[in-house]
Amino acid sequence: MHVGKKVRAVVHVTQSDGEITTGKSTDEHQLIVKGLPHVSLMSYVEVIGIAESDQSIRAETWTNFGNTFDAQSYNQVCQLANGEFKGLFL
């Protein structure tokens, strides 16, 4: 949906091997992030970059949120921000 556009997502890292980082999105889908350095497993990373496909992002900026992160709340906010309250953000 947002392919080719700049997106922001938080990924729960499940695999990290140099170039490719694999993780779970806050709505339980698998995402692949390219261009991240090694990140410790089970940490949450916010990634901002271009969506190359509907399952991968090429990272431009990233922030490590650490291990404690309320994925559920984040997901709810995402849904609100993209749905009902879209007008507040875009």
Binding site: T68, F69, D70, S73, Y74, V77, L80, E84
Partner: protein, 628 residues
């Protein structure tokens, strides 16, 4: 129906000089003789009551004056005495009959009733002359005033006729037949006379009070009628004493002549816009033939670890737990009237592995409290209904007069609790519910989400906390701490009260009555906080201020005197600014120079738990959408 005096009426009266109420008075019909006007304006009437055998001097109630004036009560006529008191006449053996309530039975008889009169059942005779019914010989004496009635026909009201028809029936039956029972829901302050038939579903204990007008006693009952409508009825002083023993839990009564008024929301316990007051003139009669039905106590248990949100709220809670500890009885002096009332504290635990202290007051402390003390070693289960939740030691529970305590009740929750306790609870370590609530403060992080308001809510309501301080939780940023304010006071190391500089050296504490070389500095400051809606000034005391500033007052004082590029004191305060915190505050009214000002005081401070806060905000958002 009889139109004659009741046999031995006078002896009956003499035998019972002060009947408790009109329902205590049997059928007493006497003949009025020697009727005489008396009193300053001649509107009171003295008479002699005659039952054919004995005579008794007395006086009619003031409200019967009109009956006499209109000719309904005349000399030689018959009246039924409904309520009276017998007074002693000083220095004389005779008594004096003060009739408080009576009704007309018959217009004048031909003459004074002199001997035994048999009662007869006859129909209603509207003819004024009744002498034909008196079977026994009548001596032809005509003592006293013999007034012939002016009218030939005596008009009787329907109530009078029915009353006479049913003379010999029990008062309650008579009441239910002559009066229409009104549904509770139809009552209002403007309704004239009504009678209700209600069951006492809750009875409070008698309380004494003292106010500007003097002392008094009061109690109230909860009344429920057939439709299920409930109303609270309150009785003060004389009425309280009169009806306290009469009202019994579970029994049904006919009540009339109460007053209705709008219920005071602060003290309302029952769902009704109105509340009732009964005074000494109100009528309360037990309805015979009604089964006593004490409604079963239904419980809605709150687990001990979930008590946080109820702290200082109006909502009463029910709890069930295993008794861990029972204290001895303590006597607490009530500030309002210096009464001492008994109190006993029990500690209970439940499957949440938390404990809480329940204070039992008055009868509960002495009766069931003692019972629990005796069986405490058996770890009994106790279920308590209607507890007030306070904030002493974090969370505290207190009984009210309406609280119900059941020991080892036959409830499914009790069985579950028993099996949990016997299997694992006994051994597990429990923590007080208050200790688990927040890492630092006693108010608990849970209560940081109850009564959450925005600053503008407090500011826009200048009358908040007028009667009693109101509590809220808020989230805001410290926006400004004025560096040059009196930020602390010198405190006694023992009791924390303010000390004064002693003559010579050291500090003097008036409360401890001692001198100390050293003292502590304790914070007492005002900080400005802001949130999305507005800003406000909050008063902060030592413990909370330490958390906000990040160091003790003594340490900050040291920084103040340090020299440096940028004054470290100012720096410290700057660092404290624009940090967000969760605050538990109380709002009260302070009078200052005759002006009422709102004062917001911080009771507890806690760091913002962002995850919890996010969840809270998301919930608020969803509430907004629902209400759309």
């Amino acid at each position: 129906m009889t139109k004659c005096v009741s046999p031995n009426a006078i002896s009956t009266i003499l035998a019972n000089p002060s009947p408790e109420s009109s329902s205590d008075v049997p059928e007493i019909v006497v003949q009025v003789i020697e009727l005489k006007a008396t009193g300053a304006s001649g509107n009171r009437f003295m008479f002699t009551a005659n039952d054919g055998k004995m005579k008794l001097r007395g006086i009619l109630p003031t409200n019967m004056g009109s009956e006499v004036m209109s000719g309904n009560i005349q000399n030689l006529g018959l009246i039924r005495i409904l309520d009276y008191t017998l007074n002693d006449i000083p220095n004389k053996p005779e008594k004096y009959l003060i009739v408080t309530k009576c009704e007309v039975v018959s217009p004048p008889l031909e003459m004074e009733v002199k001997s035994e009169v048999k009662s007869e059942e006859t129909g209603i005779v509207l003819k004024p002359k009744q002498e034909n019914e008196i079977k026994s010989e009548v001596k032809s004496e005509v003592p006293g005033i013999f007034l012939k009635p002016k009218q030939e026909i005596v008009a009787k009201s329907a109530a009078q006729i029915v009353h006479e028809q049913r003379q010999n029936m029990a008062p309650a039956a008579r009441m239910s037949m002559t009066r229409r029972v009104f549904p509770l829901v139809s009552l209002n302050p403007y309704q004239g006379s009504w009678t209700i038939k209600v069951r006492v579903t809750s009875k409070g204990s008698m309380r004494t009070y003292k106010n500007a007008r003097g002392e008094g006693c009061v109690f109230n009952v909860e009344l429920t009628d057939e439709d299920g409508t409930q109303i609270q009825a309150t009785m003060f002083n004389e009425a309280a004493k009169k009806f306290y023993d009469r009202f019994q839990l579970g029994k049904v009564y006919f009540i009339s002549k109460g007053t209705l008024r709008l219920a005071n929301k602060q003290f309302k316990t029952v769902k009704n816009d109105y509340e009732m007051t009964l005074n000494e003139n109100s009528e309360v009669e037990e309805a015979s033939n009604e089964e006593t039905f004490v409604p079963e106590t239904t419980f809605n248990f709150v687990p001990i670890d979930s008590l946080g949100p109820y702290v200082n709220g109006m909502e009463l809670v029910d709890v069930i737990g295993v008794v861990q500890n029972v204290s001895s009885t303590m006597s607490i002096r009530r500030k309002s009237n210096n009464d001492t009332i008994p109190k006993r504290d029990i500690t209970i635990a439940d499957a949440t592995k938390k404990t809480v202290v329940v204070s039992l007051w008055n009868d509960l402390a002495t009766s069931v409290g003692q019972e629990l003390l005796d069986i405490a070693d058996k770890s009994p289960i106790v279920a308590i209904k209607s507890l007030k939740v306070g904030e002493f030691q974090g969370v505290s529970l207190s009984t009210l007069s309406r609280s119900v305590v059941l020991v080892n009740p036959d409830l499914p929750e009790a069985k579950k609790l028993r099996s949990w306790y016997d299997s694992e609870g006994k051994e597990s370590s429990m923590a007080s519910v208050s200790s688990g609530m927040s890492p630092s403060s006693k108010s608990g992080s849970r209560s940081m989400y109850s009564d959450r308001v925005s600053l503008s809510h407090i500011q826009k309501n200048p009358s908040l906390g007028e009667e009693k301080p109101v509590f809220f939780s808020i989230r805001g940023y410290i926006s400004f701490i004025k560096p040059d304010q009196a930020m602390w006071y010198r405190a006694c190391k023992t009791c924390n009260r303010k000390v004064t500089e002693a003559l010579g050296s050291g500090y003097w504490c008036e409360a401890c009555q001692k001198n100390d070389e050293e003292c502590n500095l304790r914070y007492i400051m005002v900080v400005k906080i802001s949130d999305a809606s507005g800003e406000a000034f909050l008063s902060v005391f030592n413990e909370e201020a330490e958390k906000i500033v990040g160091c003790s007052a003594d340490e900050l004082d040291k920084l103040k005197s340090e020299e440096g590029e940028e004054n470290p004191y100012q720096l410290k305060l700057k660092q404290a600014t624009w940090n967000s915190h969760l605050f538990r505050v109380s709002v009260a009214q302070n009078e200052y120079n005759n002006e009422k000002k709102q004062r917001i005081t911080v009771r507890a401070v806690a760091p913002v738990d962002f995850a919890a806060e996010s969840r809270f905000l998301l919930e608020e958002i969803s509430k907004m959408r629902v209400s759309k």
